[in-house]
Amino acid sequence: MKHLLSINDLSKVEAISILDTAQEMARVSDGPMKKLPTLRGRTIVNLFAEDSTRTRISFEAAAKRLSADVINFSAKGSSISKGESLKDTAMTLQAMGADAVIIRHSASGAAQRLADSRWMSGAVINAGDGTHEHPSQALLDAFTIRKHLSKGADDLAGLRIAIVGDVLHSRVARSNVLLLSKLGAQVILVAPPTLLPVGVESWPCTISYDLDAVIDGVDAVMMLRIQMERMNELFFPSAREYSRYFGLNSDRIRALKPDAIVMHPGPMNRGLEITADAADGARSVIVEQVANGVSIRMAVLYLLLAGSQEIGATL
């Protein structure tokens, strides 16, 4: 594995090995010394052509805990806002000796383009490309679910997980459906028909339009953010109506199984897809997801960068 572009590129064994590695990395983050010398002398570029809080900071924290040097590069305040192309940006990074580029871009396929091109030789990590994929988010979600619910198993066999909300614009949903089903979980997408993408029936999951019919049978419920910034038409009549049918509130929390967990990739629209008491309640693992994100990203950086690529690295 040279790049992390899509969950599709990972086998089940590779995915589990990333989760296992992250588990050991979490131990480092819990310890008194949060820094390892493993990636000393490596340069990692955070190329964020789209806004992000937790993903960028999470990758930066992960790289720094492994002693890599991090260069942050965002669209605002860089030449991307002057219209510089991805190619020119990539060649600049290559000239500066970047060992890895973590890219977030509004265009689906941007990370793949960067990896397939000869513009740069380093590893490419997809941190979200348009409405396509966000593999490190899916890995951290799988890690969180495994930690709480797998009862010691190394995969997610037999678990039922509902992903609720704006599937149409969500790269998190696509990566999660692929990964969670690969790990043996049964995934149910819950959304109004207007917020489901074309071709969703070919995804490895089932589909429901009724949250209340699903909620009492799942082990984890993952709420998705309504992505107002990507919505250029009307997908539901009103925010109030959406919350009533698809929002997670205290009544629906009470309907959950006793050990079920509540997840959200963030950032949340409190009061729209999730109420404040659901987001902050005892079942919520939303803050823990952020902590787990650092461990997962340490694992990904370690597996992609620590070894020699010349020897034909196997994960």
């Binding site: 590695t21 008194p32 620590a306």
Partner: protein
Amino acid sequence: MSLVLPAPDISRALTRISHEILERNAGSSNITLLGIPTRGAHLAKRIAEIISKIEGVPVQVGTLDITLHRDDLRMRPPRALMPTMIPSLGVEDRNVILVDDVLFSGRTIRAALDALGEIGRPKSVQLAILVDRGHRELPIRADYVGKNIPTSASQSVIVHLTELDGADEVLIEGGSE
């Protein structure tokens, strides 16, 4: 391939090492055994069992993975991480005994000292090894040695343990003997 250490010799060596550890540290109350995965971890567990049988009290034993501190990471494909399990009393102010199967270049032990330094500050660090095959590349020596086996650099020393390989034996492979 030739057999240099059969099962009874391994068991005798571990028993002797256990006694030496007790003698040097005046009992087992302040010692913590840390095995380096994978085979060192099993050896540490065995030494702990022998010591607790002699002393009649349980011994602090755990594992210490050193992968993230290796200096040859860049030369090889990425390795899977093994579990690190520090026993309940930690390492702070304890006599820590690192346990591994073969002492060769000494680079693993250097990495282990770095890994240990990140967990705490032991009172002392000692090294117990089943086979010392020579060819050190760093100023490191073992405090407790099961057997010194002179080898040539082209040979490899293979340690088999019942827990993993179904039998206890140490073999030498290849090279001129």
